[in-house]
Symmetry: C2
């Protein structure tokens, strides 16, 4: 997709790996012709010679240690609030942060309006797997949900999968403790019933925990508590297993030689499983797209987060989502009334 | 621990890998002096020459395809119902099944009484990790819980960790979406408040999804929906990563050679991460112990499930649990009244 000419607002504070990594990420994204408005310290962000990239000096960072909602409300000069406001004002089309997820969610929810009829925005992670990337939501925006929210998450995920990730007819699964329609919490059972026969995507019914790493769906829907815990458990497990194998390879000269011989073959796998590959999590359900990259991103991760935001703007993912919701009536109460209890 | 003379009732149906594996598992456990009463087909279970092992002929198997509760109620001659009844009648001290988890939970909950004051039995998995095995509960007995149930799960887990797993002062964490006491669902926040200052174990507060694979606690407590999904996601992830690495090793002769050189060093890791190592999941909160081994267990898995049940009987884990609950008042309403809403 040609991304040239799209404009992204970038929160320039919060990249854990430092400004060199951020600057290199900016350079890579600018190389695709993406225009950037970077809200960060002018003396650390290096953009000379990059056409279409502008720095707006800004030094107040809301960190992971700050309580998101009150911080966002009380600090209009913070980099994330200004970056979001830039989108709200129409200067940029999407916003990207590599900083606090909570602050980005809070600032975006306040600063960008919700799509018509959407009750709750949801945070979606792209789980990178060899062969298929799974869009997994909600991973933390809503720790408590009702059936109608789960139903909307399915539509939000399907719309993004179609419009931005290019999956023509996404397979959508609902996370539960068994495949049968009657398995799971009350709101899950109810959402299942409401999703059967959904047009525009293939509802494949309930999926289980193992279906996520197996990549058995394009979109997997759950509440923000379960989604958050599962995402972190999954990342931790990959890290642990890879770490233990590396440790085993360092055990003695023979296994070290084995590790060296295996290295090139493992390179592709490492790339496939690395969060940098996908560009980060996306806040869905708002009129503009907000992307939250990993704080520990490398320069590729920074660039891919920016590209994801640009792609979403180029195809007008929020607009297409609203159209779809309107077409199927999810935002006009027809599903609400069936599932809201 | 000397396990000789303990008596375990074994459901002899449901081992996916077949009777040869089951028979070898029985032989291994009998080698430790454990007495066994096996409920299964007399013509398939081979125990001749094994002192203290008896087969009670039984061919009706409740499978994963059967609805557990009605099946258990209507099929008194099924192997799992008879094995549980054998414990109820005092002929055996604990029960082990390698078959349907749902049927084992249903049969045990009906057939073995709950400990005094325990509201809900919980299913605990031992997550095998190099260095530390984490006891993780509830992994599926209760898809919906209240704060008081989470509090009891913490005590049930701590008591088992102490008495059977030999952890002198278990570190107990409560699974949530952030470390702060205020993070998470309402019932989690409430349970957190009730657990602060618990005697007899170290309540380390909220833990996150990544703390499970990292092994950052001896016991991790959650509801049965989240626990079920996370356990399956974790198992699936380990399988996937190991599978992808094996596939990478088969890619070309060089990497294949590397894989071969690494193999011995990886053997220990495979053993550490293998579900067979720990013997299976344990149903806690009943007057006798029920162990559910993996259906795909090898003979070591079968033997370790039997050993776990025997160990629990030898130390009288249920009795010690009840004593502890009584001592701290968890079963007398003091915590109920603080947290039951």
């Amino acid at each position: 997709m040609d991304l040239s000419g799209t404009t992204v607002a970038l929160d320039g504070l919060g990249v854990e790996s430092g400004f060199d990594v951020l600057n290199e990420g900016i350079r890579l994204a600018a190389g695709d012709g993406i225009r950037l408005r970077v809200f960060g310290p002018a003396d650390a962000i290096e953009v000379s010679g990059l056409p279409g990239v502008e720095v707006i000096d800004c030094t107040d960072q809301i960190t992971n240690d700050d309580d998101p909602v009150p911080s966002v409300r009380s600090r209009p000069d913070s980099s994330i609030v200004r970056a979001v406001a830039d989108v709200g004002a129409g200067n940029s089309e999407s916003v990207v942060s590599l900083g606090s997820t909570g602050a980005t969610m809070a600032a975006s929810t306040f600063g960008l309006k919700r799509l018509k009829g959407v009750k709750r925005p949801a945070l979606a992670a792209q789980v990178p797997l060899p062969g298929r990337t799974v869009l997994f939501l909600d991973i933390g925006a809503n720790v408590e949900v009702r059936a109608q929210h789960l139903v909307q998450f399915a539509w939000l995920g399907a719309a993004f999968s179609k419009s931005v990730l290019g999956v023509e007819r996404p397979e959508v699964g609902l996370l539960s403790v068994g495949e049968e329609a009657g398995k799971g919490r009350e709101e899950v059972v109810e959402a299942h019933a409401a999703l059967v026969g959904a047009g525009e995507f293939d509802f494949i019914g309930n999926v289980e925990g193992r279906d996520l790493p197996a990549g058995n769906a394009d979109v997997i829907v759950t509440d923000g508590f379960t989604g958050n815990v599962v995402t972190k458990a999954l990342e931790g497990t990959v890290k642990r297993v890879v770490g233990e194998i590396s440790a085993a390879a360092r055990k003695n000269p023979l296994s070290a030689a084995g590790g060296l011989l295996l290295k090139p073959a493992l390179g592709g796998l490492r790339h496939d499983l690395h969060p940098d590959t996908t560009g980060g999590a996306i806040l869905l359900g708002l009129r503009k797209t907000a992307v939250v990259g990993h704080g520990s991103s490398g320069s590729d991760g920074v660039a891919n987060a920016i590209r994801l935001a640009a792609r979403s703007a180029r195809v007008d993912a929020p607009g297409l989502t609203e159209e779809m919701l309107h077409r199927v009536g999810v935002n006009r109460g027809s599903i609400d009334s069936a599932t809201d209890v």
